[in-house]
């Protein structure tokens, strides 16, 4: 499928593009002159601490928030000049709960079908399909105000993917879900991404999720992109795995000469060797250490990348608070 694209970036189907996109709240730039390109079929992750500007960016791209300056195109359509066409191309799961309490799960989905113009013949089938994915078939006829927080989230996900959008935005979609459901949902989404050539832009605080799912990740802080690359590249560049071992004959001089070794620390007769890509270099490393009594490997994570660039840690426990706080307030 070919998308309508603007001028210079028409060679590869770029489905989301921003040019110096900015949104200010008073003096704060929630999104600060952001330049971004997302290609068709990509699963693109936005990673950043609370208040980094992820929700603001997504709100602009899905046309419910006007940029202060800059431009952006979604599916080739200008988000300010052609919001109607943008909306026809997208699905979204908002960070804050947005299902209707006084309707049943089924009624919420039926309403969505009508609003998003799903053809009459396939409505029933689509509803069945998504209900089974999020495992809500048995509760479909209950009012949403009897659902738990996790069930509401699943309903919203079902709704977001039901009309098979070309581009799917997910703002903290799996926050507060149990691991099993998370896995289930991601499986379906990556499946759908391939089958329907759907592009996904998501924000998440779960590092493992971003790591295993996303083709590329943009780390954002204070409304700016700090770094953008594939998870493996990001890890390769910055992250080191740490090999902890106890050699019979400690000789750090030779080890320091190895090109993949970054840093060596010695403590209580143990060596902590930071190396690039342990899975590749461990064997070779051990040939240089001589006989050892003990070895342990700790793999670096994307969290280290995050730390490296922002100097802070993303803590899942604090993640966005928003969702649960809002649920409790109701």
């Amino acid at each position: 499928m070919h998308t309508k694209t603007e001028g210079s970036f028409s060679r590869e189907p770029v489905v989301i593009k921003t040019e110096a996109l900015t949104r200010k709240y008073g003096k704060i730039s929630a999104v600060d002159s952001m330049n971004l390109e997302v290609k068709e079929g990509e699963i693109f992750g936005l990673l950043g601490p609370n208040g980094a500007g992820k929700t603001t960016l997504i709100s602009m791209l899905c046309t419910i928030l006007k940029p202060t300056s800059g431009r952006a195109w979604v599916n080739g359509f200008d988000i300010v000049k052609e919001p109607g066409k943008v909306r026809k191309s997208i699905g979204i799961v908002f960070q804050a709960p947005s299902v209707d309490d006084l309707l049943t799960g089924l009624e919420n989905l039926q309403m969505h079908n009508l609003l998003f113009g799903v053809p009459r013949e396939i409505r029933k089938q689509r509803i069945q399909e998504v209900l089974s994915i999020v495992n809500l078939e048995k509760r479909a006829d209950d009012l949403v105000n009897t659902y738990s927080g996790g069930m509401r989230r699943r309903l919203e996900l079902a709704r977001g993917i039901m009309h098979h959008p070309k581009i799917l935005f997910l703002d903290e979609p799996t926050l507060g879900l149990d691991p099993q459901t998370r896995e289930h949902i991601w499986e379906y989404i990556s499946d759908l991404a391939v089958k329907e050539c759907m592009t996904v832009m998501l924000t998440t605080h779960y590092m493992e999720e971003a790591e295993s799912l996303c083709d590329r990740i943009a780390i954002i802080d204070y409304g700016k992109i700090v770094v953008l690359d594939s998870p493996s590249e990001l890890k390769n560049q910055i992250v080191t795995d740490v090999v902890k071992l106890k050699p019979r004959i400690p000789d750090t001089e030779e080890l320091k000469k190895l090109e993949y070794v970054r840093k060596i620390e010695e403590k209580d007769g143990l060596l902590y060797i930071s190396i690039k890509d342990a899975s590749k270099h461990l064997q070779d490393l051990l040939t240089h250490t001589g006989p050892i009594d003990f070895v342990e490997v700790r793999s670096g994570t994307l969290n280290d990348v995050f730390m490296h660039y922002t100097g802070r840690e993303i803590r899942e426990a604090e993640a966005e608070g928003g969702f649960w706080e809002r649920m409790m307030k109701k």
Binding site: A96, P97, D100, L114, L115, R159
Partner: protein, 248 residues
């Protein structure tokens, strides 16, 4: 086609929610009952007749219009709640025009009000208001037109405010003057000076006049003028409403 389905979807949601919020239905029926029986009968006992009708019958059309006015204007507050709880985002991000979203909401609000009208018409039969089938149909249509105009105003105010408290404040400044100077409680033909000017620029004056004319007979303006003024007023309110929704 898809725009019509969008309007239908929004209307259906509003209708379902209305029926499920029992307090909404009950409170909106109790207050007009009090007006008819407590106020109408109470004040009526000290007044002989107005224009040949008992006071209770005389104010009946005014009470029906009042019910429509209150229910319709107050409906605008739900848009604020929807927005506070983020339900509205789902609708705002849907590929239906804001005009359709507005239309769906207007129909939803008018449905709320008209359900109450049906109830009041039934009561009217019991207190021997002269209601023939043709009167009922005409009154119903006129009240629908009034409701559409007033829901539109309520939505305009709701779309431009952020808090339900602010809404209540603003709506009181709109609703009470509109109601008191509409001729719903006393005939406006007796007024003089600046009060009569207020009644002439009050759109509800024409609504009350039309509904009273349809139900009881006496009226101040020709019916076509009443309808024309109400239509004009609705169109203005709806245009502002669509603009307000576009900016949401």
């Amino acid at each position: 086609m898809s725009e019509i389905e969008g309007i239908y979807a929004i209307w259906l949601r509003e209708a379902k929610i209305y029926m499920r919020e029992k307090e909404r239905v009950i409170s909106s029926i109790v207050s007009p009952l009090l007006w008819i029986f407590a106020f109408g009968a109470g004040v009526g006992s000290t007044i002989e007749t107005v224009q040949g009708y008992s006071y209770q019958i005389f104010i009946y059309p005014g009470i029906v219009v009042m019910t429509v006015l209150f229910a319709s204007l107050f409906y605008g507050v739900y848009i604020i709640w929807d927005r506070k709880l983020d339900f509205l985002k789902e609708v705002l991000v849907a590929p239906v025009s804001r005009a359709s979203v507005f239309a769906g909401k207007v129909l939803g609000g008018a449905t709320d009000a008209m359900i109450q009208v049906v109830f009041l018409l039934i009561i009217g039969l019991f207190i021997s208001v002269p209601l023939t089938p043709i009167v009922i149909i005409n009154a119903f249509l006129m009240l629908l037109l009034i409701s559409i105009a007033m829901v539109s105003i309520g939505l305009v105010i709701g779309a431009n405010l952020k808090s339900p408290e602010g809404f209540t404040l603003v709506i009181n400044f709109v609703m009470w003057p509109m109601f008191f100077f509409s001729g719903a409680l006393f005939p406006v033909s007796n007024l003089s000076g600046w009060l009569s000017v207020v009644t002439f620029i009050n759109p509800l004056t024409y609504g009350v006049d039309a509904v009273r004319g349809i139900i009881l007979g006496p009226h101040q303006f020709p019916i076509f003028l009443d309808v024309a003024m109400m239509l004009l007023f609705s169109l203005i309110a709806m245009s502002i409403g669509v603009l307000s929704f576009r900016r949401m």
